[in-house]
């Protein structure tokens, strides 16, 4: 028994040992598997370290505070595939009074393993004390974060961009107030939105082709010129570059070849100080649009052509070649040719008074309102009366018990349904609304127009308010009024193929407002001829939109044009006494009638839009002496799209086209197109000194 017992004991001791050994082996095996499995599941911190962010602010990492500027962000992915969002956080507002607000610019980002992507944003950098914060997110997880210190990247001067391989225009640098700073950005990093050129005074193109730019970059450049930018293109031996489609579309004329100029001729044209010891070749032009600002004999040397509100200069000689690369007079020649206007006031912090927003009157005029108190009273009275009647019926102990039971339930069921129908979504839609008021100002001699926008979103229920839109790509910012009052909100702006805007405040019954500006394609050409018999208007509506309730205002008289269909070309004569409606300087704003089917209150936003314009143009008047104004309505180019396409919206778009009236028959048959003239017409043969005086006089005017 003992032996047996020992044996049993022995077995009893050995079995746990074996079991423990097996258990420890299994544990070790499990540890090995765990160690092998660990690299397969990288922790978030490891994943984050595989994404790098690099950013270039403005042009060659230089920007001007208080201006819109391009921001190129390059994201490099060293790890696995990334699908998420790239977010740029910009701090704006009044730092002294601690009234700051944030704007978040977001773009979708998909990056495969070991790949890199550069995305461009157009941001408004108001100050420099708060860094730009850039994040790469995947859902709620931040994969990478970078802070860009703005203090080291500031330029106070206006910028001159030189797109060239070898030109040196550093002599234009001027550190004085309102001075210039020359930068040489890489063409691939130029803005994709015209507003990105906000700080730029002029662009010089030398020896490169604009075909290198992407479609959006070229559009941005074209729009920037149309809204008032200055482009100067230098000629040179490689004139084939200037015959490329994009440049030839912008230039006043296309070079046909080279022509040889003697030094003495050039000295007469430029200055005796120009050191020319041998002949120089310049580009030879045939016919060109615009006018020659400088000639040497019959050869145009500087030709200028207006493009919308901007100008394109063509310098037919090589500005960086012999003998101009060593001439001291180049700075003066540039400044004289460019005629840079004074720097505009900072876009958002201009101290001029701001009129009330047109959005509220638009909402007031077009939004369905709550049911009146009388309706509510009658409804409640009827319901309670019916319940009381039901009570009376039941109290009478009628034999029809089923009728009493019916009366106990029927009123509430009926009135619940009626309440929903009478006060519910059919008459008072629940959810998000979009409001947009737009002022479209076509540029003369251009296919573009300036779009000034007031956009608002609100909802009568709480929650996210994400408005997706299309039709325009404006830069958007909290209203100037809100910024001045210090109550600007925080916003998210989605860029990329599907643009959106979203206030971060999710309260209901709060109107979230933005202002925006854009340059849109709106090809409207008009010429007004002030003839002895009266006025003659030639209007070519190639805008693709119908113009409604159009009026022509000129010299204290208004002429009704009615609707002009898309694609229509109209030529009309007006006799002042027969067709004209005498109006004063200001009351013409009352001419506009509300669009068909709209109440009279809809005029209020229009009045505000025009009043704003009037204040903006207070020095020259609006439309101003010698100018006619075409005013009317059209459809708003800014439209909700995508998930927001079904949002109820209140909108209004006003066209205001300011046209210089031409005396007599000066431009018969012309409908806003630039003149195509032979090279020897309208030349400016003055010497640089005389030109300076003339330019000064022009500026004073």
């Amino acid at each position: 028994m003992v032996a047996n017992g020992d044996m049993v004991t022995g077995q009893g001791r050995g079995a746990p040992h074996r079991a423990r050994g097996l258990q420890s082996r299994l544990q070790r095996l499990a540890d090995v598997f765990l160690l092998l499995a660990l690299p397969c599941v990288p922790p978030p911190t490891m994943a984050a370290s595989t994404v790098d962010i690099a950013a270039v602010v403005g042009f060659t990492d230089t920007y001007q505070p208080g201006r819109w500027t391009p921001l190129n962000v390059t994201v490099t992915n060293h790890g696995g595939d990334v699908a998420g969002e790239l977010e740029v956080q910009v701090t704006g507002g009044d730092e002294l009074r601690n009234r700051l607000f944030l704007t978040f610019h977001r773009r979708k980002l998909e990056l495969h393993r070991d790949s890199r992507k550069t995305l461009q944003f157009t941001v408004f950098l108001q100050g420099l004390s708060h860094p730009l914060v850039i994040r790469v997110r995947s859902g709620e997880r931040v994969l990478a974060r970078a802070e860009i210190d703005l203090r080291t990247r500031v330029a106070a001067e206006r910028l001159v961009l030189v797109l060239s391989r070898d030109a040196d225009l550093d002599y234009l640098n001027d550190g004085a107030a309102n001075g210039l700073r020359v930068l040489y950005p890489h063409p691939e990093l130029l803005p994709v939105h015209w507003r990105g050129y906000d700080a730029v005074a002029a662009i010089v193109v030398h020896g490169i082709s604009l075909e290198r730019l992407s479609g959006s970059q070229f559009d941005a450049l074209h729009k920037w010129i149309a809204q008032g930018g200055i482009l100067a293109v230098s000629g040179g031996p490689d004139y084939a570059l200037l015959r490329s489609p994009r440049l030839s579309a912008l230039l006043p004329g296309v070079p046909l070849g080279m022509t040889r100029m003697d030094g003495s001729v050039l000295q007469r044209a430029f200055s005796a100080s120009l050191d020319v010891s041998r002949p120089v070749h310049v580009n030879r032009l045939g016919t060109f649009r615009g006018r020659a600002r400088l000639r040497a004999g019959t050869v145009p040397l500087i030709v200028e052509h207006a493009l919308g509100l901007g100008r394109v200069l063509y310098l037919t000689f090589d500005v960086a070649g012999y003998p101009f690369d060593r001439w001291n007079g180049m700075r003066e020649l540039w400044l004289d040719s460019l005629r840079l206007p004074p720097a505009p006031k900072l876009s958002l912090s201009a101290p001029e008074p701001v009129l009330a927003s047109p959005l509220m009157p638009l909402i007031r005029a077009q939004t369905a309102n709550f049911a009146s108190h009388a309706t509510v009273f009658y409804f409640l009275a009827l319901y309670l009366g019916l319940l009381l009647a039901g009570y009376g019926l039941s109290a009478r102990q009628t034999r029809r018990r089923w009728l009493a039971s019916l009366w106990s339930w029927a009123p509430m069921v009926l009135f619940a349904a009626a309440a929903w129908l009478l006060f519910g979504p059919t008459v008072f839609p629940r959810g998000a609304n979009a409001v947009a008021a737009a002022l479209i100002e076509p540029f003369p001699d251009s296919i573009y127009a300036r779009l000034a926008l007031d956009v608002g979103v609100y909802s009568n229920r709480s929650g996210a308010l994400r408005l997706e839109y299309r039709g325009a790509e404006p830069v958007l910012y909290p209203t100037r009024q809100a910024q001045r009052d210090g109550n600007a909100e925080n916003w998210v702006f989605g860029e990329g193929p599907q643009r959106f805007l979203e206030p971060l405040d999710r309260r209901r019954y709060v109107l979230h407002q933005l202002e925006g500006e854009d340059v849109i394609t709106f090809n409207l050409n008009a010429s007004v001829h002030d003839e002895a018999a009266g006025l003659r208007l030639v209007l070519d509506n190639a805008s693709g939109r119908t113009l409604k309730d159009l009026w022509l205002v000129f010299d204290g008289y208004a002429y009704e044009l009615g609707s002009i269909e898309a694609g229509a070309r109209v030529e009309r004569g007006f006799v002042r006494r027969t067709h004209g409606l005498e109006v004063g300087e200001a009351p013409w704003k009352r001419l506009l009638k509300p669009p068909p089917g709209r109440p009279v209150q809809t005029m209020e936003p229009t009045r505000i839009l025009l009043e704003r314009k009037l204040r903006e143009m207070r020095e020259s008047g609006y439309p101003g002496r010698g100018h006619a104004l075409l005013i009317g309505y059209t459809e708003n180019p800014f439209r909700p799209a995508g998930a927001s396409a079904g949002w109820p919206r209140q909108e209004q778009a006003l066209i205001a086209f300011r046209v210089a009236a031409l005396p007599g028959n000066a431009a018969a048959g012309k409908a806003g197109k630039g003149l195509l003239e032979p090279g020897n017409v309208d030349s400016d043969r003055q010497s640089p000194g005389v030109r300076d005086a003339a330019a000064g006089a022009n500026r004073r005017r």
């Binding site: 309102n369 039941s394 106990s408 619940a416 229920r461 709480s462 019954y509 109107l511």
Partner: protein, 263 residues
């Protein structure tokens, strides 16, 4: 549900006219007045200018909550009874039904009755809902809170009735004192247990700005608090009924009624 005689009484009672319905109609008039007073007096544009939406729904829900609580308290104290309805004491003392079953059916009957009262208020609530911009989920939370609060007050009323008995004057003042004391000071001192504060939080403008993680606890805390209080009140009621039953030698009062029910 219909097999339970207490619930059947309620279902039959609400189809008949009686003092209870007339009393609640009075409360419904009060709710209608609240709705009318809180109906937006200005247009949408002015609301947007002031950046404050209408508080119509919150006011209507608060009014419905108070009305249901007051009515439940009175019903619990047997001040108002549905036509043909018997008191809780009768059910407990005059029938051989188990107290647990009686109490379960009593609570279920109260729930059915509260739902009926809610249905009576539904047109008013829907009207307020359409203009106030609330969410369905938030409204559902508020109504659930009103229901469970009414349950608690019903039990309080029943306890009052069992402790004070048939002394009408004392019962009358006790019921109103409970409503005033519990509704106002408790709500003031512990806002998490106040239906008014709860509705204001869930349907008010601050609802949109509350952090997401705080959204659930608020609602759950209220419901849990009143559910807990109701459980405690039910236990107290059970003990009172048990003591009353023990004090009875047999079903003396209402013996006929007991026989009728058990048969």
């Amino acid at each position: 549900m219909r097999s339970n005689p207490l619930v059947t009484e309620v279902l039959v009672g609400i189809t008949r006219a009686g003092k209870a319905l007339l009393d609640y109609l009075g409360l419904l008039v009060l709710q209608a007045v609240v709705l009318f007073l809180w109906w937006p007096k200005v247009g949408v544009a002015q609301m947007l200018e002031s950046q404050h939406g209408p508080h119509t729904l919150a006011a209507a829900v608060m009014a419905a909550g108070v009305a249901m609580a007051y009515f439940a308290l009175r019903a619990g104290a047997e001040e108002v009874m549905l036509p043909g309805q018997h008191g809780l004491r009768d059910w407990a003392l005059a029938t051989p039904l188990g107290l647990g079953r009686v109490l379960r059916a009593y609570l279920l009957g109260q729930l059915v009755h509260s739902l009926y009262l809610l249905a009576l208020s539904s047109p008013l609530l829907l009207m307020a809902f359409t203009v106030s911009g609330g969410e369905w989920a938030a409204l559902a939370w508020c109504l659930a809170a009103a229901l469970i609060q009414a349950m608690f007050y019903r039990l309080c009323g029943a306890i009052t009735h069992l402790t004070i008995g048939q002394h009408r004057g004392e019962s009358y003042f006790a019921v109103r004192a409970i409503l005033l004391l519990v509704y106002v000071p408790v709500g003031w001192l512990a806002p998490l247990t106040s239906h008014v504060a709860f509705t204001s939080r869930v349907l008010g403008e601050s609802a949109a700005t509350r952090p997401a993680f705080a959204a659930v606890p608020d609602e759950v805390v209220f419901l849990a608090a009143y559910a807990g209080l109701s459980v405690l009140a039910t236990i107290a009621l059970h003990r009172l009924l048990a003591r009353a039953r023990r004090g009875m030698a047999g079903p003396r009062d209402g013996a006929a009624f007991g026989e009728a029910v058990t048969s």
